[in-house]
């Protein structure tokens, strides 16, 4: 039985996180076959086996930290004889000698890349042991030269036999030329764009060629038209020199000075916005996702190459909805409603489906009620003087197409109050344990329609005057009743006002319009005796009910906030100045 221990991974790397195991007990493995993927501080590397045989026991688990020298698995079986030698050879040199096995791959990308054994393409080139330079080999009949289109190496690059090092355009074709030597490139003797002749020296090696380590027969080498090898070589070079990628730019990169004029970056992002991978979906599909409010990057495509079609987006959107409902129904968040009795037992009944606005309202309010610990604070405002102001502004409002209502005035008052008490213009992000303060004041107004309760939102209330607010409110309410409100017109609110005064009542407990944290309810104003400068006077008094989210707002703050509002109603002069 032989053990496979984690070999040296490179300088200063003595451990890594095991990202993926590629073997399981009973698997038969060969030398050089990748067996696991390890994430180190520097990169994700694939670790090749240095032993062959049948895997018996695996001593590590995905997600674990693994140390250099630690036993990863054991193997049984015939190949054991050879494994000893291989194991001895495994540390240090092994990985950098066959760099394809230690490819640093960006984590987000696919790791399963097609693997093929290398076969030199243009011509079979025998290894030249101990060579100190690489000359252009024969390319084929009647071809004695070519134009060097692309160099894939530079001074300092580690090359190994079979690794493509350049691309040559001949009269007949473009060919990739693989190296017939291994070692570290010292001098590159040719430049891109040059003509190169068969037999001409392309590059020399540092201190002669490294003795060619015995290549594992099945050493996996990725082939991606030379591109990948170039990158592998590039990475090996970086590692060899301890350089960063920037410092070790390959020869066809512009010098690292800031260019005065560079061709545009091509991934079509708006400068300054986050950069995301282009997604495998046609433009109309991406647009559909936006319309449905689905992040297209979360959608799994069912088509070739993971292509996302319309149905995928719709299915995803549906799944989101059901999972949201399921989450709401999940124990802990929502108590299952007890089964209903058979009402028909006692008389005739009619069952009507809950649809549209009613259903939305029901869902939304249940969530709000279950999420927000509600407290309602009551107060009263003397609006006797305000009534005079209202009368004064009424014609102006009418001119502007609006009605000067108490709600319109309340909008203005609340906007001012929210500026002074920003915690009432906030939301709670429990997941992140953060409070989100909004630097805009958009107030929703509950409108009673024959379809049910709708809450159109008036934006930037603080920037509008009372007359403008009255006009906008009138229009929005009309739209709500005429079923013309668009969903966007009901989004983005930071606070809500609900006025039941038109109907009656002396107070009520409105439910906070989650994720907002407070809501102001207005009831019917009435004439009341008020003790003023030593006697009772008949004054018009407006009952105020403020419900708030007790997680964020303390009772004392709520009392202060509502008092502030009451006083603002009582001093209409201030309002008229702010107008």
């Amino acid at each position: 039985m032989t053990e496979f221990k984690l070999p040296e991974l490179g300088e200063n790397i003595d451990q890594g996180d095991l990202v993926r195991l590629m073997i399981s007990p009973g698997a038969s493995i060969t030398e050089g076959q990748p067996v696991m993927e390890l994430e180190t501080d520097k990169a994700v590397v694939e670790v090749p086996s240095s032993v062959a045989g049948t895997v018996k026991e695996i001593r590590v688990k995905e997600g674990e930290k693994v140390k250099v020298g630690q036993v990863i698995f054991t193997v049984e079986n015939g190949a054991g004889g050879k494994t000893k030698a291989a194991e001895a050879k495994a540390p240090a040199g092994k990985i950098s000698d066959t760099p394809a096995q230690s490819v640093a791959q960006p984590k987000t990308e696919s790791r399963s890349v097609e693997r093929r054994a290398v076969a030199p393409q243009a011509a079979a080139i025998p290894a030249t042991p101990g060579a100190t330079e690489f000359r252009l080999p024969e390319l084929g009949e009647n071809i004695d030269q070519g134009d060097l289109v692309r160099l894939m190496i530079s001074s300092g690059t580690k090359v190994s036999e079979g690794q493509p090092v350049m691309e040559l355009e001949t009269d007949k074709a473009v060919v990739e030329v693989p190296s017939s030597v291994s070692g570290v490139v010292k001098d590159v003797r040719v430049k891109e764009g040059q003509k190169v002749k068969v037999g001409q020296v392309i590059f020399t090696l540092e201190g002669g060629a490294a003795p060619q380590p015995e290549r594992a027969k099945h050493a996996p080498v990725e082939h991606a038209d030379g591109q990948h090898e170039a990158r592998v070589a590039f990475q090996a070079a970086i590692r060899a020199e301890g350089k960063t990628e920037e410092q070790a730019l390959p020869p066809d990169q512009p010098r690292p000075t800031a260019p005065m004029f560079a061709m545009p970056e091509q991934l079509g992002k708006v400068a300054g916005t986050e950069h995301r991978e282009p997604v495998a979906a046609a433009p109309h599909v991406r647009r559909l996702a936006r319309e449905l409010g689905v992040d297209i990057h979360d959608v799994k495509g069912s088509g070739a190459g993971g292509r996302i079609n319309e149905d995928d987006v719709k299915a995803h959107s549906k799944a989101l909805l059901t999972s949201a409902t399921a989450a709401a129904h999940a124990p802990g968040t929502y108590l299952e409603e007890p089964a209903l009795p058979d009402f028909a037992k006692w008389g005739k009944i009619e069952r009507v489906p809950i649809r549209g606005v009613r259903r939305k309202t029901a869902e939304h309010l249940r969530i709000a009620w279950n999420t927000v610990p509600h407290v309602t604070q009551q107060d009263k405002a003397d609006i006797t003087e305000l009534e005079q102001l209202r009368a004064r502004f009424a014609p102006k409002a009418e001119e502007a197409g609006g009605k000067m209502t108490v709600t319109a005035i309340a909008l203005k008052v609340c906007a001012s109050a929210l500026k002074v008490f920003p915690q009432f213009n906030a939301s709670i992000d429990m997941a992140k344990e953060e409070i989100i303060y909004k630097q805009y004041i958009n107030i929703g107004v509950a409108v009673d329609t024959d379809r049910g309760l709708l809450v159109p939102v008036i934006c930037e209330v603080d920037k509008k005057n009372i007359v403008e607010l009255a006009a906008e409110l009138t229009q929005l309410s009309k739209k709500a009743r005429d079923k013309k409100l668009t969903p966007t017109e009901m989004e983005g609110g930071t606070f809500t006002i609900t006025n039941l005064g038109g109907i009656g009542g002396t107070g009520f407990s409105p439910i906070v319009n989650h994720p907002e944290v407070a809501i102001l309810g207005l009831s019917r104003s009435s004439m009341e005796p008020v003790w003023l400068s030593g006697k009772f006077e008949a004054r018009r008094v407006l009952p105020l009910s403020l419900s708030y989210d007790h997680r964020l707002i303390d009772g004392a703050d709520a009392a202060r906030f509502l008092r502030w509002i009451a006083e603002a109603f009582e001093q209409p002069f201030l309002l008229s100045v702010q107008g």
Partner: protein, 474 residues
């Protein structure tokens, strides 16, 4: 959110960004005002950019082919160039197209104001009309599309008619004996090509190691080889450190390790070292719009600035500074204003360099993949194997497709070769539709056309291209 479903909109600047936005807004029923200093819409692109340069490049191509025709047994005598007529033809092209835009604008009842606009606040503009009158106008939303202008290097600023920017070069006041193009970007190379064809001895100086910095080197190489023949010299890794006007021309001092002559006198110098966004709009500080460090107005994916009432599009918001990007942004901004849930999020923006040969690409480039350390597979098809390219006597081109190795999806396309600017559109469609190598390989392309090179590149990916024998290693 506006209470008015059909907001009134002002568009500042009549370039391809501005007029596309204005026209769509009008089509969607908004009340639109378009403001630009020129008589008609068009902007840089039509008056002093894309269109006049392409007209002149067409002429250059004809001249060039007349020389090349010798190879085919047809010999023309050297062309006589009637500069005033060439100029008026080019101006005619511009007039025709901008006049057409003027009519389209009228037909859509867009209010076109010839003048310059400044901000009074987020929704009010002070418009100084070209006629002399001034007027304050208010709108629900304003779209900034003020474009860009040629950048200048302050230390090289010289008040001389011999030193031109791209606008001066397009004026074509004369054909100088010698011309130095400062900057090896696309504008410099395109205009250099024009002047070389008209008979100037053109030199190009570029600070970086290669022409067209940022583009994939294998695309640039065939172009480099060709311009080496038509240009007098190409100085790479070289900067211009000083320019002085003398009686006989501009004396230019070069700096760099590879230079042979430290100083040289040129009849004229074209400075094309990039473009600067026109974000210094008077009164912009009275709004909440924020301008980034490189002078670009900052926007989100809906092209909305930090000021909710103001949107910005085109060259003034960032790279790539290209007309078609400006137009697409313009349309996106208007749709966002109309309340649609949209975002500017293309997977591929095509770039075309209209030199000879042309270079075109879209989506992911190899250079960028390398920078991001991203796995790709590249399939190249040399045009020497394209029947069409050989019949055109231009086999130096190359088409390459860049694939995701796992899904075999086309992530990017790069082409060099005559007329490839027309081919890249298929690449854009492939990238945007998330086509796979198989999709491209199985779509029948007409023979003999250059478009076949796209299909055959996809075949190369599978090692089965009909006209290139490059088997995959087994």
């Amino acid at each position: 959110m506006s209470d008015n479903p059909k907001p009134s909109i002002a568009v500042l600047g009549g370039g391809p960004g501005g007029y596309a936005a204005a026209f769509l807004a009008a089509d969607l029923g908004m009340k639109v005002t378009l403001i630009d200093p020129e008589v008609n819409p068009g902007g840089v692109c039509l008056y002093r950019g894309c269109i006049p340069s392409k007209a002149l490049l067409h002429v250059a191509k004809v001249i060039d082919e007349s020389h090349q025709a010798k190879n085919w047994g047809i010999e023309y005598s050297d062309p006589k160039i009637d500069l005033p007529r060439l100029r008026s033809w080019k101006e005619g092209v511009v007039k025709k197209l901008t006049g057409g835009l003027g009519q389209l604008s009228k037909a859509r009842s867009v209010q076109y104001i010839q003048g310059q606009a400044a901000f009074e606040n987020s929704t009010t503009l002070r418009v100084a009309k070209t006629g002399g009158a001034e007027e304050s106008l208010s709108f629900d939303r304003i779209i900034i599309a003020t474009g860009s202008r040629p950048a200048i290097i302050p230390s090289l600023k010289l008040n001389s008619a011999r030193v031109m920017d791209s606008t001066g070069a397009l004026d074509l006041s004369e054909v100088p004996r010698s011309l130095l193009v400062v900057g090896g970007g696309y504008i410099g190379l395109e205009l250099g090509t024009v002047y070389a064809a008209l008979g100037s001895k053109v030199s190009v100086v570029e600070m970086l190691a290669g022409l067209l910095p940022g583009a994939d080197r294998d695309l640039v190489l065939p172009l480099h080889k060709r311009v080496e023949k038509i240009f007098d010299s190409i100085l790479l890794n070289t900067t211009v450190s000083a320019m002085k006007e003398e009686a006989s021309g501009i004396r230019v001092t070069f700096e760099g390790q590879e230079i042979k002559e430290r100083e040289k006198v040129f009849d004229k110098v074209l400075v094309s070292v990039g473009r600067k966004p026109n974000s210094e709009i008077p009164g912009l500080d009275k709004t909440q719009v924020q301008v980034g460090p490189r002078g670009f107005i900052q926007v989100n994916k809906q092209l909305q600035t930090h000021d909710p009432a103001i949107y910005a599009i085109g060259d003034v918001v960032g790279e790539p500074m290209l007309a078609h990007k400006a137009s697409h942004e313009g349309r996106t901004a208007v749709e966002a204003i109309a309340g649609h849930k949209v975002a500017f999020e293309p997977n591929a923006i095509p770039a075309v360099v209209f030199t000879d040969p042309e270079i075109a690409w879209c989506g992911l480039t190899e250079t960028q993949a390398q920078k991001e350390n991203r796995q790709i597979k590249v399939a190249r098809f040399p045009w020497a194997a394209s029947g069409r390219a050989v019949t055109l006597d231009r086999p130096e081109g190359m088409t390459k497709l860049i694939f995701d190795p796992e899904t075999e999806r086309v992530l990017g396309v790069g082409i060099v070769g005559v007329g490839c600017g027309e081919l890249i559109a298929e690449g854009v469609l492939a990238v945007e539709m998330a086509a796979t190598a198989t999709d491209v390989a199985l779509s029948i392309h007409p023979h003999p056309t250059l478009s076949e090179t796209l299909m055959e590149s996809a075949e190369v990916f599978f090692g089965t291209s009909t006209h290139v024998y490059r088997p995959k290693p087994r």
